[in-house]
């Protein structure tokens, strides 16, 4: 940890001991207002989208190698593979890019929770391209084993198959039975959210179903820098002094030339970016986007983003956030079920969390109901909150 970061940490601890409200001390950038003034052409460069091929995927060589090995293993041992990932780490990109290993793979992407048995059967039938009418997974299994061979099915966000309620695990367990029953003929590649994995592992021993588990590692800082630089290509970047600069650095900035000052501010910006993103590519991109202070012609002014301090969250807010963490995204109706809340209570909590910008609406035009997900910008801070206030061992 860098010295300024250490000092900041010490300051936070002292503030906590003295019970001083950190939020009143922090400098908050009116990033929404600033962002509105930025041209769309520039903002679009920071849109998050999954990559489709191996060539454009950076820093995931080891994970791709692990998938290659897993596929080779399956040919002998017939074992499925599970990819455990945090939101924004690029699991979708990895799974799409991995199709060079198994070109005939079918990717099952669903933005909605699979909430009924029939829904699951028809979805699997569609992707497995099996004709006929099947009422149970067992019937489908027989058909698959009779007619399919060496198929590869990739299913993202397997946590969509469960909901934290009594009988809410049945679908996931049925699917796991189906997976074990068909793994000789189908190479299953599944991905799961890290927090759902943590929960399911504790209550249902989920990981014991997989002998091959891939955890995504943080991306190298150099690669993150390369990525951000490429997104700013075509623009001249001018780095501005951050809001929370130390006196020592400020003094140093005064005594150097313009070029040296830019170099120092650039280093400072990237240090802050690395520290914020912790190897998470999406978080790094969002950080860079929020740091864009002004765009004038082909010049972009970058002022390191200062994150907002989270106000005190009550127990109900924390449980709501935890439920969203565990399911990746939830609707209000699902939240009522998970937390055994009334509709009014859930709506009020959601409104509060939206107001604080801790959660966001999932953008999906196909959906009829609104889903809410954790705001990536607060991922680490909220994880810390859950760890300290709810006694959870989330890593």
């Amino acid at each position: 940890m860098l010295l300024p970061e250490k000092l900041k940490r010490i300051k936070e601890v002292v503030y906590k001991i003295l019970d001083i409200d950190i939020s009143s001390e922090s400098v908050v950038i009116e990033e929404a207002k600033e962002a509105n003034e930025l041209p769309n052409e520039y903002l679009e460069r920071f849109t998050l989208y999954p990559l489709q091929n191996k060539e454009t995927l950076k820093g995931r060589e080891n994970s791709l190698l692990s998938l290659e090995r897993a596929f080779e293993n399956w040919k002998i041992l017939k074992t499925p593979v599970l990819v455990v990932t945090q939101p924004g780490e690029g699991a979708t990109s990895l799974l799409h890019a991995s199709t060079y290993i198994y070109p005939s793979a079918k990717i099952l992407e669903t933005n909605e929770a699979i909430d009924s048995y029939q829904n699951l059967v028809s979805l699997l039938q569609k992707y497995l391209q099996v004709e006929g009418e099947f009422k149970t997974l067992n019937d489908l299994k027989k058909e698959v084993n009779a007619n399919c061979e060496n198929e590869v099915i990739i299913i993202e966000d397997i946590e969509r198959l469960f909901i934290r309620k009594i009988n809410g695990f049945n679908l996931l367990e049925d699917f796991l039975l189906f997976l074990h029953g068909t793994k000789k003929n189908i190479f299953w590649v599944l991905s799961i959210n890290k927090y759902s994995f943590y929960y399911l592992n504790r209550v249902k021993y989920f990981s014991s179903n997989f002998s091959y588990i891939i955890n995504l590692n943080p991306i190298d800082n150099d690669l993150l820098r390369e990525e951000i630089t490429s997104r700013n290509a075509g623009y001249t970047t001018i780095f501005l002094k951050p809001g929370d600069i130390s006196k020592k650095v400020e003094k140093k900035l005064k005594g150097i030339s313009k070029e040296e000052r830019q170099q120092l501010l650039e280093e400072l910006f990237y240090k802050k970016l690395y520290n914020f993103s912790k190897g998470n590519i999406s978080k790094a991109i969002l950080y860079a986007k929020r740091s864009a202070y002004k765009v004038k012609e082909k010049v972009v002014y970058i002022k390191p983003y200062t994150s907002q301090a989270i106000e005190d969250l009550n127990l109900s807010d924390l449980f709501t956030l935890e439920a969203i963490f565990q399911h990746r995204a939830l609707t209000i109706q699902e939240l009522n079920i998970v937390l055994r809340n009334t509709n009014r209570t859930s709506r009020l909590t959601i409104e509060k969390l939206l107001e604080k910008d801790l959660i966001q609406i999932v953008e999906n035009s196909k959906k009829t109901t609104t889903e809410y997900k954790i705001n990536l910008m607060f991922l680490e801070t909220l994880k810390d909150k859950l760890r300290s206030s709810l006694n959870r061992n989330i890593k």
Partner: protein, 296 residues
């Protein structure tokens, strides 16, 4: 006759001489006493001067204030570092006692600087006097020290003593305070605590085991009930998911034959013990109604 006169004269002179001696002795004694009293008063004035009394009062007041300040720090730390709440609370009584001991020791040594003999004599005589006069208080004080050193429980633990179940909120030198589930503050003398059985639910850990009892008809489908009760526990927001959940069945044939289902699970924080119990019971009851185990 002459002999008688001589004897009388001798006797009279002896009496007069003796009287003169006694008066002188008394005068001497009085002078000695006056001198001793004067010395003692001077000594006492030296030992207990107005300045010293004022110093003692100021130091005790400052110590009291310092302890209040420390307690405020502890309170803030407990609030902001919830995960380490019990560790912080554990240190609090030890620090309080150390500060008081240090303050009293510094006062005695700087103001009176007593010799070793004086200390032994003072200890001996005060032990005897205090032993009779403050027997109960001393019992409590030693009880308090034993609790702090032996640590059968700590601040933040959920204990049951003499039928009072609740969270230990303070361990003082004379007594211990427990906040019961009905939010009553029960003060128990330390001497009573060390001579009684204590059951401690969490023993310094943040979580604790909660036992939920559910009563069902004898002829229930055990597999169905096991699944429902297990999932009622694992889906509860208050569950400590890092610890196991156990479901047990017992048949009772007393007045009303019934199956007792015991759910043993750990709550994430001992403070939510009853909320967890209620949450599991509520969820299980709703599910039992849905499958027809309980009549709607």
């Amino acid at each position: 006759m002459k002999r008688i006169v001589v004897f009388l004269l001798l006797s009279i002179s002896t009496i007069i001489y003796a009287q003169q001696e006694t008066v002188e002795d008394v005068q001497e004694t009085v002078e000695d006493v006056q001198k001793n009293v004067g010395d003692t008063i001077n000594n006492a004035k030296e030992i207990i001067s107005f300045t010293k009394i004022l110093t003692i009062l100021v130091v005790l007041l400052l110590t009291f204030g310092f302890i209040k300040l420390l307690n405020w720090f502890f309170k803030n730390m407990v609030k902001n570092f919830n995960r380490h709440r019990l560790k912080i609370l554990r240190i609090q009584p030890v620090v309080n006692i150390l500060v008081w001991t240090l303050a009293i020791y510094t006062l005695i040594m700087t103001l009176f600087n007593p010799s070793a003999e004086a200390i032994y004599a003072l200890m001996g005589s005060s032990a005897l006097a205090l032993g009779f006069a403050m027997q109960d208080i001393l019992k409590n004080v030693f009880g308090g020290l034993l609790i702090i050193l032996d640590r059968p429980f700590q601040i933040g633990d959920r204990i049951n003593i003499k039928g009072n179940y609740g969270e230990v909120v303070n361990i003082g030198l004379r007594n211990t305070q427990i906040n019961t589930l009905d939010d009553n503050l029960v003060t128990i003398p330390n001497s009573a605590i060390i001579s009684d059985n204590i059951s401690n639910a969490n023993s310094g850990a943040l979580d604790c085991m909660v036992v939920v009892n559910l009563w069902l008809p004898l002829h229930v489908n055990v597999n169905k009930v096991r699944k429902i009760t297990h999932e009622a526990a694992i889906t509860s927001r208050y569950l400590n998911i890092d610890k196991p959940v156990t479901i047990l069945f017992f048949d009772h044939f007393d007045h009303h034959p019934a199956t007792k289902v015991v759910v043993k699970a750990y709550v994430l924080d001992a403070r939510y013990e009853k909320l967890f119990e209620a949450d599991v019971t509520e969820a299980a009851k709703k599910a039992f109604m849905e499958v027809g185990i309980y009549q709607k």
